[in-house]
Amino acid sequence: MRILVIAEKQKFAQPFVDAMVAKGVKASYLRILKISLVSKHKNTLIKALGEDIPKYDAVFLQARISLAPFVEPLLEELSRKNIYVNCSPGSYFVGMNAPYKFVTLALAGVKTPKTLTSGSVKNIERISKKISYPLLAKSFKGRDVQQSMVVETEKGLNSFVKSVRQDIDGFMLREFIKGEMLSCAVIGEKVFAVSRKINEYVVSDLEKGICYKPSDEETKESIKAAKACGYDIAWVDLVNGHVVKVEPEIPWNKFNKLCSETLEDHVATYFMDRVKEQGEKKRPIDDLKDIGKAVSKTVFSRLLK
């Protein structure tokens, strides 16, 4: 079984490589920056220095959502080559656009807070009548959040409007749900959760959270949210059972520390199960090459030559 870990930096990837190797998997790391894609004559090559990606059974991808314009063609190609990846084609497009993400979640029947989105700030007053205070107001330039604040009254909303630049591409008003925030690391069907306090509309840092055993309902909802966005492994935030955030990247070290777990082991096990499910690739030539490489490092290297 061969699994490739693609990440931006080796320090993020190495714990996963080690966890997989410890379980007998042939795992290696590839820096995403080294990959280039070449589309030609009925085929797309995934070029990476010294690495032949299609020989892998699965790829564990951990990359920033802002890399979506590169990640999407990569996911498309890995999927076409029947290589399992923890996120499906299209999922990074979902991740980088908040209004699109909330539409996707709502259509999948995921419990989300009431959210209103529009392009022109001129509409904000009329739209705000459809939602109750307090609310979370966000403005966007392109697909990036430009400004975000909690608004308690109409007066507060007016000052938000005044503070927003006129050339924004849209704004979002989201019902602010009271309660504690549950940050969940979803790994397949397993959920590891941390409970975080919300004081005066400010969520405490993840580091200050407490390990929490999610209810069946919370577990189900967080898995459903991750899957709706196309992620098998994701960070999902819930408040009072409502999903408020879904992202493909997880702050592994923080979750490990708070939950006294080694989540990398769970990821490795999850990947192994998935590969077994889909069936390992048959690759006698690659296996022979590996044997050759191993022998070349021993006293028998001359014999091999």
Binding site: I32, L33, K34, I35, S36, L37, V38, S39, K40, H41, K42, N43, T44, L45, K47, L49, L67, P69, F70, E72, P73, E76, E77, R80, G90, F93, N97, P99, Y100, F102, V103, T104, L105, A106, L107, K111, T112, P113, K114, T115, L116, T117, S118, G119, S120, N123, I127, K130, F140, G142, R143, D169, G170
Partner: protein
């Protein structure tokens, strides 16, 4: 009797007034009710109850057909709006997938090429440091395209590695993703063929660039004339639209060593009013009307079937 149908045209924030005027005027000949809505005025509502789109208090998802006319500049709301339309039973000549793919130059080339549509070798990379590996496949000169560019903007012809390095330095500074395409020496330099695909019909226009400009986008000057397509060109155009899941779109073809290859696909092509008048607009609307009527009839049939089933139960 023609069914009475309603149409919503959802336009870009930066719409072209003359095109919109023609669209509205022509659509009134086919539809009993027509609304033009700029995408920034659409209100998207999501909750546990589902998704709704509103314009001035009216539910947009109650129209019989929706004709999206927005560009890559409208991504923030565009993807959400198309996702909501897709989940409804309204006729729409384009899809979310087609919007995402056609606004990504490399993804378009990748998906079409994988399905056997003749294209030009294209590359995509993040780091200028590792660009050599990709360029090795195309060789110089290359046409470099910024992924988010449109209408010929952000397109540069690069002759050698030195030029490439200086351009990459600038581009990397602005955190842009780079796609390159092998520069094709055409038998007809500065000329390409724009194919409007409208259902089964294809209208082809030869575009000739302004003197001194190697790009043939009409928005950059130049002229155009109607042409007939060879069977190979016709097949390439139709197959591209089918793969990209669009009933209405345009694809640009150019000659590469005697073979017509696809350069790019357009989700929101301009109708070339200056050269073609309202010809393309009329065909668009005829098609939307035909398909929307068919879909409505189907919907009514299903509803009647459902109602009779409930009655018999």
């Amino acid at each position: 009797m023609k069914p009475s149908l309603s149409l919503a045209i959802i336009g870009s924030k930066a719409y072209k007034q003359s095109t919109v005027n023609s669209l509205i005027k022509e659509s009134q000949k086919y539809f009993s009710s027509v609304s033009f809505i700029t995408i920034d005025k659409v209100q998207i509502q999501t909750s546990t109850q589902g998704v709704a789109l509103f314009y001035k208090g009216k539910n947009i998802l109650s129209y019989d057909a929706i004709f999206p006319r927005f560009s890559s500049r409208d991504f923030l709301l565009g993807e959400a709006v198309l996702k909501a339309i897709e989940a409804s039973d309204i006729y729409c000549p384009v899809s979310l997938k087609s919007y995402q793919i056609s606004n990504h130059k490399f993804l378009t080339s990748q998906i079409l090429s994988n399905e056997g549509v003749p294209g030009i070798i294209s590359t995509l990379f993040i780091s200028p440091k590792y660009s050599d590996l990709a360029i090795k496949e195309t060789g110089y000169p290359v046409v470099m395209k910024i992924l988010s560019g449109f209408a010929g903007k952000g397109v540069v012809l690069i002759k050698d590695k030195g030029q490439m390095n200086s351009v990459l330095d600038a581009v990397h500074l602005f955190e842009q993703f780079i796609s390159t395409q092998k520069f094709v020496r055409s038998k007809h330099p500065g000329t390409d063929i724009r194919c409007y695909i409208i259902g089964d019909q294809v209208i082809a226009v030869k575009r000739i660039s302004k003197k001194g400009d190697w790009r043939s986008n009409l928005s950059r000057g130049g002229t155009a004339k109607l042409v007939d397509l060879t069977p190979q060109m016709l097949e390439t155009a139709k197959k591209s639209a089918e793969i990209l899941d669009m009933d209405i779109c345009a694809v640009d073809l150019m000659d590469s060593n005697g073979k017509w290859v696809i350069i790019e696909a357009n989700f929101m092509p301009g109708p070339f009013k200056k050269f073609l008048g309202n010809m393309v607009i009329v065909e668009w609307l005829k098609l939307i009307h035909k398909y929307a009527a068919r879909q409505k009839k189907q919907k009514e049939k299903e509803m009647a079937k459902e109602a009779s089933k409930v009655k018999s139960d």
